[in-house]
Symmetry: C2
Subunit: 362 residues, 2 copies
């Protein structure tokens, strides 16, 4: 376990040096876990992985988490802070006079940035630098994403097998989450929506019951041993109606095009464009309401995002959700989602569940 | 539903004016929900409640969330942003030239602060200003916290009734979360630990099985209609041993002292000191590893925190968890937790579950 974390810290140190930084301070739970193997739950408390180019560094954490830190394979020595401070003096101390400091600019708060600046630091956005490491998954990481996908597949199969008219949307989501937890998921985000309710890709599960003719859009993600898997499959209660079949066919084409475009060297927006051209051409079926997907790893949503605004080039080892969908507020939504590795020879699916529309007995 | 949110926005506008601000930008999911009734899930996307002292304002959100925003009782008009931006241009536009801007300094990111500053804003920490409103709960809010506590109590009763030796820690936590979701909880954090494992107040549920002689420390929280309830009760498998009885007696005394100290005008640290004096005096029983509690409302942990460093005065309408505990790494942990309203005539318990150690059949 220790080796990959050491390698990651060393790589970050090297990148920091090349960027003329004296240190990098990673503050997201996910980056800290990636660098140290320690999974904290920050809430309002300060945690930080400090990597100095002079070879020093520390995992700054509250004393309360001493056992979790001790059990982690962190290559950075712990630096604990007591309840009598907010952790900032200990962070400044761990920086050992480093002046030019790379920070995760989308996470470090305005208040903590102010405290670091007041202590003499010059802060430099370095989120991309940390993410350039996190984005390219090693073999262990790919294996963990595969395992998380396998867990989600098992639970999706069970859900479709047991789903019946009369089932309550919120209850089905709770049950799926329970099955995932039972099987070791440390976190999970099921989003299973019925009928017209599925027409909003970010809808909330409600007390709506499943009825004949409904589509079911089942987006299920789970975190297993630190890594996420995220899949979506759809079904209908009784034989699929005309709209559901048409929507599924559009999304299936968009899915194929987006997966095929998920190649090293392609720009992120090219993957989005591949699905968007197909979904947007089907205006009579529904709307295109989101991008093609996002990177996935220690976080369920990570950059790069496969959206029109992103020119980020895809690189070998990146893993993305590919999840085109089409939505009509009076009929529902159909989405297909798999997790795809950018391989040396093209896209590699990390999940293997059939894509077809499931038919739930009416 | 609309009235309380309008009142909150008006109060914030008035506070902002008194603080010589041109606007306040609230960016936490919790503050946005408090001000607008809209519960978003931000992930990497920008959401903001903009309240201008000139009477203007907006709820800035991605287009993807249009249905959720439309269903919310927000007194602020929506300002949607499309996938082609990151939402910052729309936020700057919603500010309508406001220059001196209060921000939630513990949440606004370094990157977004930089973008606002580059657009000509002078940023002022205003988290306390927003929290000064959120901290004092109105009647509706107190009723919702009571309802969340009642839900947690029901599930704790069922858990203690069904718990048996051989039960797996992780499975029990998953089951309790499922019961909470089934009953309408939109989020939940069960932390139920067995035996020596409970000696770490932030331990992770594992595959450990419940055994005769174990203590059980069951900390269960749930969010219902936007508001959290958070309780802890303990038990033993078979009759309580000497350590468990001694630990419970210490914590019970500390609990009584801390609840009694939860009064308007007292400093936050005085509540902590009341429990700490008793727990720290019992060194032969175990360690005092955390503060007396924290405020609770739309977030499970909110300021003020009942810790040694806080001189914040308690005010009528605040609601706190009171949760003293004592820990010994080879024996376990005992903690008692209730949610307490600072009332006009002293502390008011919002939960009513008996405090005693439960005996689980061995």
């Amino acid at each position: 376990m220790t080796a990959p974390h050491s390698t990651r810290v060393d790589s970050l140190r090297e990148l920091a040096g090349r960027a003329d930084l004296d240190a990098v301070v990673a503050t997201t739970d996910a980056s800290i876990a990636y660098l140290t193997g320690f999974w904290g739950l920050q809430l309002e408390r300060l945690f930080a992985a400090v990597v100095r180019t002079d070879g020093g560094g520390a995992l700054v954490a509250p004393t309360l988490d001493r056992d979790g830190v001790a059990a982690a394979p962190t290559p950075l020595p712990p630096r604990f802070w007591e309840l009598t401070t907010d952790g900032m003096p200990e962070l400044v101390d761990a920086l050992g006079g480093a002046r030019r400091i790379g920070v995760e600019e989308h996470h470090l708060s305005f208040a903590r940035a102010g405290a670091l600046t007041a202590a003499g630091a010059e802060l430099v956005p370095a989120g991309d630098l940390v993410m350039s490491l996190r984005a390219r998954k090693d073999e262990t990481e790919v294996a963990r994403i595969r395992a998380a996908c396998a867990l989600v597949e098992e639970v999706l199969e069970r859900m479709f097998a047991e789903l019946r008219p009369g089932d309550v949307e919120a209850e089905v989501n709770a049950r799926v989450r329970y099955w995932l937890s039972q099987r070791g998921a440390t976190d999970a985000h099921p989003l299973i929506l019925f009928g017209a309710h599925a027409g909003n890709p970010h809808g909330e599960p409600s007390d709506r019951t499943l009825a004949p003719g409904d589509v079911v859009c089942a987006d299920v993600s789970a975190q297993l041993e630190g890594y996420w898997g995220d899949l979506t499959r759809c079904g209908t209660v009784g034989p699929a109606g005309e709209w559901a079949r048409a929507a599924w066919a559009v999304v299936r084409d968009a899915y194929d095009a987006a997966v095929a475009a998920t190649r090293a060297g392609a720009e992120a927006r090219a993957v989005d464009a591949a699905q968007r051209a197909i979904v947007e051409a089907a205006v009579e079926v529904g709307q295109c309401l989101h991008g093609a997907g996002h990177a996935i790893g220690v976080e369920i949503h990570e950059p790069p995002f496969l959206v029109p605004a992103s020119a980020t080039p895809l690189a070998e080892g990146m893993v993305f959700t590919i999840e085109p969908g089409i939505y009509r507020s009076d009929a529902g939504g159909i989405r297909l989602e798999d997790d795809v590795l950018v391989g040396a020879d093209g896209p590699v699916l990390l999940s293997g569940l059939p894509l077809e529309l499931r038919e739930i007995p009416a």
